[in-house]
Amino acid sequence: MYVCGAHVTKVGRHYEKSVSALAAEAAAPVVNACGEPDALVVSTYLSRFQDSFGNLGSLLAEYLDFKGEVYEVSSGDGSGGAAVSLAVRLVKAGFKRVLVVGADKSNDFQSKRAVKDLQTLISPYESFYGLTYAGAHALAARLYMSKYGVSREELAQWAVVMHENATAVSHAQLPFPVSVDKVLKSHSVAQPLTLLDSHPFSDGAAAVMITSESSPVSIEVASASAPLTLAERDLTFMESAKMAMEKLGNPYPEAVEVHDAFSIAGVIALESLGLAARGKGLDYLIHSPRRVNPSGGLKARGHPIGATGVYQVAEAYFAITDGLGKLGKVSSFLVHSSNLLGANTYLSFLREV
């Protein structure tokens, strides 16, 4: 299977555009470049709550004047990765071209509303008395830091590298550098995590076309799952990422985009994928800062929840065809998309043909 084209909108606050307008903006150039698809696979998550609209796939098809098969795919904050995976499966099953569009909105209300909407990722018996997306990651962070003796200052390196990488990426939401000191002094979101350990609230849309026709970039996918209930797993490791990586044959990519909704999730992802030893994710980052999230990651490129996984695959495609930010051009790229810290993992491995 191949990727024949990709397009992304700038990640940020698009007060002037709805989720469907953003989706159309991302999709049209890809259809123009690659041709009409046989199926359309759409992913969104927060927009259902923020825009009170749950039929994005259908409206996008109308805007594109597309009359073929339409599917909306959902897997929490890993919805984008799930949509790409399903599209690759559809092409494998016989379709010539499948268009994947991820689009989402987080900024149509005050941030405390987005915080509430993101609680819907967590099982109700863990979220009902106020556990947030950030709170879940904070529990993982404290556990990880105490288990491996990692300091608050060391963990702050994640944000420093991500912001540095984003400075060379035109579609990134936060393309400015930050210091360790600034990360530590930014206000507390869920202790031990601060604002600068956290993804920003993002709007955006991205599109990629998966095809069976030979193209300069190939794509393979693999996925796996673990319990959603946070209390039922080891919060310092994502078993589903390890399993999905084994299904891919444990490749060693030149660069990787991992799902770092919060700094700690990026560190744990590198270890779960087997790229770093357990407890050594930050060492890997420091040794290869340009090869880990050259887009700036969810942390600095931004995290339009249901669109994020599609952005990541588009960025991998850009890295192989034209070069991406400070990484430049590579010939292999791994994308890690994850639903709530690894309840589900969707991997895509892209290579130059």
């Binding site: 915080v115 018996y125 556990l131 507390s188």
Partner: protein
């Protein structure tokens, strides 16, 4: 804040008493009314989780969701209970910074009240054991 009477009612066993439905074959616990284990096809048994345990991790949530402004900050703990099961629960009576490894005990506390219906939600919280 919307509170549904039927949701409050059906969640009482877990939220008020830490009652779960445990599969006698695979041992998995469901925190709601899953009457037959979907994996083993065995009838699940209602059992109560232990009310004491050890704190494995904790978080102080300062950026609280809409509807929780009056309760900020919220403390949460990951607790390993004496029966070996694990739970993520709100912490209460946090007078000083919690310590990993400290003994915790269950206590019933008010979560919030619905302004329009007057419905009050309660749930099991955990607090440092004395």
């Amino acid at each position: 804040m919307e509170v549904s009477p039927s949701v409050v009612w059906r969640n009482k066993p877990y939220r008020y008493r830490l009652e779960v439905r445990r599969c006698p074959k695979c041992g998995r616990a469901f925190r709601e009314e899953v009457e037959v284990c979907p994996k083993c096809n065995e009838r699940t048994e209602r059992v109560r989780m232990a009310g004491r345990g050890k704190l494995l991790s904790w978080a102080k949530v300062c950026q609280v969701p809409e509807g929780f402004e009056d309760f900020s900050p919220l403390y949460f703990g990951l607790v390993e209970l004496e029966d070996g099961s694990r739970i993520i629960a709100r912490l209460t009576d946090v007078l000083e910074e919690p310590k990993i490894g400290m003994e915790m005990e269950a206590v019933l506390r008010k979560v919030r009240a619905d302004g329009s219906t007057g419905l009050i939600e309660y749930a099991i919280f955990f607090r440092p054991a004395f």
